[in-house]
């Protein structure tokens, strides 16, 4: 079912496209169509012409936090992943190794980690193989805005300002990592979509850290499908429009709020719903997303939108044509 491939190192995007001389909306876009099995290649800014009047594009309005804090005088860094209802956070401990921070298996319950400006982080208990349930001595959001930097992994060798990690839709701070499928959108593309008659409506899903083990399920994340968006989803589908999710986070939020008949109700809270070929997708027809790593949970979600044969051809085409992976890379539009 899953697509197996080795990701050549040359296909990792090491910096924002702007730094490579490519506009945000100038990244490449692979388009696959489930029904016909066709694959075509475009620039992202061609998106308006690929959608139809009456289609509904659902976007994530989360904003990215500078979610990494260095532990002073050491090699440790803390990645703040996800807020929990009682004010605790899921965090990941990372250790500097060369220019990057790698996973760090240590830490023990009750451990107190001193952070800049006198703040302290208390590890309560392990929540997953890598994530700790922890509590910061001060309010987390203002603290991160003052002392944090954006999370990056080893494929991005230097730090970039937070603005490079915000999408044009970002209004509600809360994500540890950028909802990167929406990164290529610009005011110009959004205007062209509006002029085309494509509807746009927001949901919120605050994305946690993406550094999951291969095969590990995503953990619960805060989400919000507001009533106006739920109504628009139902309206669009009732009139033959397609609901296109801009990013896997949007699929997760909408599918959490979907009833078995595919209609969507307003909903908010924490979701632990994981979309797989077995759960299928009930409320979403298409998906705009990045290119994902082998054996990732994202690839399993993609398999709910396209069968393994088509996905395999897509990924061979992307590798063969030199598409770029990761948050600063190219994108893939899966249409029905």
């Amino acid at each position: 079912m899953t697509v197996e491939f080795a990701l050549p190192a040359a296909l990792e995007a090491h910096e924002p496209p702007e730094a490579r001389g490519v506009a945000r909306d100038g990244v490449r876009m692979l388009v696959s169509r489930r029904r016909s099995g066709e694959i075509s290649q475009h620039a992202f800014r061609d998106l308006p012409g690929l959608l139809l009047p009456g289609d509904l594009l659902v976007v994530n309005d989360t904003a990215t936090l500078p979610a990494r804090v260095r532990v002073p005088g050491g090699k440790l860094a803390v990645h703040f992943s996800t807020p929990l209802p009682d004010g605790a956070w899921l965090v990941e401990l990372r250790r500097a190794q060369g220019k990057a921070f790698m996973p760090n298996g240590r830490g023990f319950p009750g451990q107190v980690i001193g952070l800049p400006a006198g703040a302290s982080l208390t590890l309560e208990r392990r929540a997953t193989g890598r994530l700790w349930r922890a509590r910061l001595s001060v309010a987390v959001l203002p603290y991160l805005l003052r002392h944090g930097v954006p999370i990056r992994y080893s494929h991005v060798p230097r730090e970039w300002p937070l603005a490079h990690y915000q999408t044009v839709f970002a209004t509600r701070p809360g994500s540890a990592e950028m909802p990167s499928a929406s990164r290529p959108f610009t005011a110009g593309v959004v205007t062209a979509l509006a002029a085309r008659g494509v509807l746009i409506s927001p949901v919120t899903l605050h994305a946690g850290v993406s550094s999951l083990e291969a095969g590990e399920d995503p953990y619960p994340e805060p989400y919000d499908v507001p009533p106006a968006t739920a109504r628009l989803v139902n309206h669009a589908r009732a009139h033959g429009g397609r609901v296109i999710a801009a990013g896997t986070t949007v699929v997760r939020a909408l599918e959490t709020a979907a009833r078995p008949d595919g209609s969507v109700r307003p909903a908010a809270g924490w979701t632990s719903h994981v979309v797989t070929p077995a759960t299928g997708v009930r409320a979403v027809d298409g998906l705009l997303t990045g290119l994902h790593e082998p054996r990732s949970s994202h690839l399993r979600m993609l398999a709910a939108f396209a069968d393994g044969e088509l996905l395999g051809r897509c990924y061979r085409a992307a590798i063969g044509s030199g598409y770029l992976w990761h948050e600063f890379g190219d994108v893939h539009l899966l249409l029905p």
Binding site: D86, H206, Y219, P227, G269, W270
Partner: protein, 260 residues
């Protein structure tokens, strides 16, 4: 799934619970009645236990009459829990939290209880400072304290905080300096709360001038019968809450549906 928070249960999503302070009369009572008609289970408070009990009985009866058709369709009846007390009293706030926990959680906190401060309204030059402190205690500190207590429950359900404010918070009305300064503080506290909380909605709403006891106290001896009844702005609040509009400051008049 190995992390802590459980997903919201279907039952929790369908039986919504709201806590409304200052619900024995005026806007608070009207909001309580309106939310009961929308199917909310209610927790209400006010200092005057007798008036609160009467309001609770009235809300229950009215909701059952107007929601009769829904009840047969399986909608929850109007469960109203009245907890008499003063919002500035920490023990009372703890009792409110207890009531919310007993209700299984909370979707909406309406910080409506407030005080005008000194009446007749004095100029700031002469404002009695003890009364000013008391006005800040009721209008700013108590709502924030209650919000702090209830935030974990509100976050759990992606709930909302609705703070009742006034145009006196943003306009310079002579005589309204004490009340206006306190409401301005409440507005900015709401504004910052909205920036700090990732999983809830925060609204602060100016309901407009209404025919209430508080408004009468601001204009002692004057005829205020030209002011609209609090019930007139209910559709604005129902829209705000049921559509879960984005965080921010709203004027009730701007949320009312267009005239047919």
């Amino acid at each position: 799934m190995r992390a802590a928070p459980p997903p919201p249960s279907v039952a929790a999503m369908t039986t919504r619970t709201a806590l409304i302070t200052g619900a024995s009369r005026g806007l608070g009572r009207a909001l309580a009645a309106g939310l009961a008609r929308e199917g909310y289970a209610l927790i209400i408070d006010a200092r005057d236990g007798t008036a609160l009990g009467a309001a609770a009985a009235q809300i229950t009866a009215a909701a059952q009459i107007t929601a009769g058709a829904q009840i047969t369709a399986g909608a929850p009846g109007a469960a109203v829990t009245a907890v008499p007390g003063d919002v500035t009293d920490p023990a009372h706030r703890a009792a409110l939290r207890q009531a919310a926990a007993a209700a299984g959680g909370l979707d909406l906190l309406v910080n409506n209880a407030g005080t005008l401060g000194a009446s007749p309204l004095p100029a700031l030059a002469d404002y009695p400072l003890a009364e000013l402190r008391a006005a800040f205690e009721v209008n700013v500190v108590a709502p924030l304290a209650l919000t702090q207590l209830l935030l974990p429950m509100l976050r759990e359900r992606g709930g909302a905080v609705l703070n009742i404010t006034s145009d006196a918070a943003v306009e310079a009305y002579a005589g309204w300096g004490g009340y206006g300064a306190a409401k301005a503080a409440l507005e900015q506290a709401s504004n910052v709360l909205a920036a700090e909380e990732v999983a809830i909605r925060v609204w602060w709403v100016d309901p407009g001038d209404l025919r209430t006891d508080m408004h009468q106290r601001a204009f002692p001896g004057q005829d205020i019968s030209d002011r609209p009844l609090p019930e007139s702005v209910l559709p604005a609040f129902v829209r705000l809450v049921t559509d879960r509009l984005p965080n921010g400051r709203y004027r009730a008049a701007h949320l009312l549906p267009p005239r047919p």
